[in-house]
């Protein structure tokens, strides 16, 4: 979480807090999965049941996460927690294209079964290209051609060449 023009130390501390949160989440998830592994029935035909290996793994995750939490808590100064929300927002602001891209991907994946692969892919590629491309008229034509080739063209190639039929949609 550090970029030019920002306080690197404060961004680093915020990064460490974000990692601390990830360790805590990992610890909670592994503890929960460890408990649910206990509920997996044990077969009388084998010494280790279906839940034994997961329990070993999740106990290991919990142990390492705990060590990571202790190490992270030692690194983070007390004042850093108060600045965390502001630093995180600033980080997210600097990387707004990441969120746009992931959002577009999510919408695209949801639309594939509805619109079909070709139309959804055409809209996704063209839409994302329009967001990411330099603002020049010449690039627009390239963007449209590429979107058409990698949506309708790819669908045709897979259907005719490999007999793999991509989702056709409800229309």
């Amino acid at each position: 979480m550090s970029d030019a023009g920002y306080d690197k130390q404060q961004a680093g501390e915020a990064g460490e807090i974000a990692r601390l949160l990830s360790y805590v989440l990992t610890l909670l998830a592994s503890a929960g999965l460890f408990v649910s592994a206990n509920a997996i029935p044990i077969s009388r035909f084998e010494q280790l049941g279906a839940g034994a290996f997961p329990k070993i793994v999740f106990a290991g995750i919990a142990l390492v996460a705990l060590i990571a939490i202790v190490e992270a808590l030692r690194k983070i100064p007390a004042g850093a927690y108060g600045r965390f929300a502001r630093q995180t927002l600033a980080w997210a602001g600097r990387r707004y294209l990441v969120f746009v891209t992931l959002g577009a991907l999510a919408v695209y994946l949801v639309l594939i079964p509805v619109l079909g692969f070709s139309i959804a892919s055409f809209l996704f590629i063209l839409g994302l290209e329009l967001v990411l491309m330099p603002r020049r008229a010449a690039t627009l034509l390239v963007a449209v051609i590429v979107a058409a080739v990698f949506s309708f063209g790819l669908n045709w190639l897979f259907a005719e060449g490999f007999t793999v039929f991509l989702p056709r949609g409800v229309f």
């Binding site: 961004a11 990992t26 891209t101 793999v164």
Partner: protein, 505 residues
């Protein structure tokens, strides 16, 4: 000798050579598309070989196989996305090398290493197929489990900046591998009533999401760089064919060691290129005088990974030819292709169809040469990828990832999983987790669990892991490997002091 000449004559017909050439091109292109594996390419080739002579059909499939192992390096080097699981380690050094302005050299290194790896493995195959096959089949679940424990210690050298986060990522990978039906008794685990999770998380979708989606997303972090129309890879696009060939040959120890690792791992049923490239990379790094430069574009890393994964092609044929046991999914398809032609694969194969077996050896050598020719001739075309600006390549490759994920099982739910894993992968990347140990955990988890439980089902005595000599050797190697890694980290820490670990992205 008659059988050898018969095999030679069958391979060196114009029709067979043309088919093999087409197979090489198909394999390279297929593996270059993220998510489209060598296995998928071979499955699609199988129906085309039904009308061919048995050896002709097998030769075409071997060309796709050898070409596919090389094709994976194209997207690994240029996009930082492993085209196949067997090229995961290739991304570690080939991608940084391409990024710092040497995309041609990165590709050329990988191609030559693949070529020599395949040639070395073919030589080993000819000499050692019967005795190695006998050794591999004698290994029980104790030895396999110990081997996987040894392989897991590789995580120690893939952890990146932080040992703790690397270990956590490896363990999370093992945890992911436990989702779905358990491999021994078929009991449901951690599916939470979701149908998609009942069969376990499809490995390929996880791989594409973790590596490809997170890598592509991180490409658009800097709006200025994207909007200026910058290409993904910049610098001189010079393939440097002969110069790089000499460069690869100047690393004989690394080349031979990595190829031998590939052959040995390929010969073990259940293992394969996906493990061989990581083990070979790890060995190269440990034995290097300059291990710090690994992961930053060290040519030894590219050579090790590509020689290692390509050598498994020959190694995998050892148990197939010697005993009729397929070492990987691809070998199983090759076996199916032989069975379609009424040839039973087993210990008598080399006695009953010696011409076919020798023909396969020759086909391997010819396929590697064809792969080299196709690569050298077409690589300039592939290098055009490097000139494509980010704003074009990011959405297009994302769509290719979607196609690869869907085509695997024809399930729309896999696409949702892809999106979810992609977001998780980017989050982990942004938080400074190393993603390679996670993938290693996902690959090795089921093999480790199956063999641990199988061993204890066969005999409840756990001391057998220590009293069986081969198992003990693997466990001792694991201990040595961990000690070596700890020594390396302590050594690294001393001069640089405490890592501040400030940046999360």
């Amino acid at each position: 000798m008659d059988s050898f000449l018969s095999g030679l004559v069958q391979i060196f017909t114009l029709a067979t050579l043309i088919y093999m050439f087409a197979g090489s091109i198909a394999g390279i292109i297929a593996a270059a598309i993220p998510g489209f594996t060598v296995t998928m390419a071979i499955v699609l080739t199988l129906p085309l070989t039904f009308t061919m002579e048995p050896l002709q059909g097998i030769a075409v499939m071997l060309s796709v196989y050898v070409g596919g192992y090389t094709g994976g390096l194209i997207s690994a080097a240029l996009l930082g996305i492993p085209g196949t699981p067997s090229s995961v380690a290739t991304t570690f050094d080939a991608f940084p090398m391409a990024r710092r302005g040497e995309p041609g050299r990165a590709l050329s290194l990988g191609i030559w290493a693949s070529f020599f790896g395949t040639v070395i493995s073919t030589l080993v195959l000819i000499v050692a197929a019967p005795p190695l096959a006998m050794f591999a089949v004698k290994l029980g679940p104790w030895e396999y489990f110990s081997l996987i424990v040894f392989a897991l210690t590789i995580v120690a050298s893939l952890v990146g900046d932080s040992v703790i986060r690397g270990m956590l990522a490896g363990l999370i990978g093992l945890g992911i591998s436990t989702v779905g039906t358990d491999p021994i008794m078929g009991r449901p685990r951690f599916d939470f009533g979701i149908e998609m999770l009942q069969a376990g998380l499809p490995f390929l979708v996880v791989l594409i999401g973790i590596f490809a989606i997170s890598q592509l997303t991180s490409e658009v972090e800097d709006p200025k760089s994207v909007r200026s129309g910058n290409a993904l890879v910049t610098g001189a696009i010079d393939f440097q064919t002969w110069q790089v060939m000499k460069e690869v040959l100047m690393r004989p120890v690394n080349l031979i060691r990595s190829s031998v690792v590939g052959v040995l791992i390929g010969a073990l049923p259940g293992a394969g290129g996906s493990i061989a490239n990581l083990v070979a990379y790890d060995q190269a790094k440990r034995n290097s005088k300059d291990p710090e430069s690994f992961g930053k574009g060290n040519p030894d890393g590219v050579v090790a990974s590509e020689a290692g994964n390509s050598a498994t092609a020959g190694g995998g044929l050892i148990p197939l030819i010697g005993l009729g046991i397929p070492g990987s999914a691809v070998d199983a398809i090759l076996m199916a292709a032989l069975m379609v032609h009424g040839i039973s694969v087993g210990p008598r194969l080399i006695m009953d169809h010696a011409d076919l077996v020798y023909g396969m050896f020759i086909a391997m050598a010819v396929a590697s040469l064809m792969m080299l020719i196709v690569s050298v001739l077409s690589m300039r075309l592939f290098l055009r990828v490097a000139e494509v600006p980010k704003w074009l390549i990011v959405p297009v490759v994302m769509v290719c990832c979607v196609v690869g994920s869907f085509a695997l099982n024809n399930r729309v739910s896999d696409l949702y999983l892809l999106g979810f894993v992609g977001v998780a992968g980017y989050t982990l990347r942004a938080l400074g987790y190393s993603l390679a140990p996670l993938v290693l955990g996902v690959i090795l988890g089921p093999i480790a669990e199956t063999n641990l439980r199988r061993a204890l089902m066969t005999d409840a005595d756990p001391t057998l892991f220590l009293t069986r000599p081969v198992s003990l050797i693997f466990l001792m190697l694991a201990v040595i490997s961990i000690a070596w890694a700890i020594r390396g980290h302590l050594k690294h820490r001393k001069p640089s002091g405490r890592s501040t670990d400030a940046s999360a992205s």
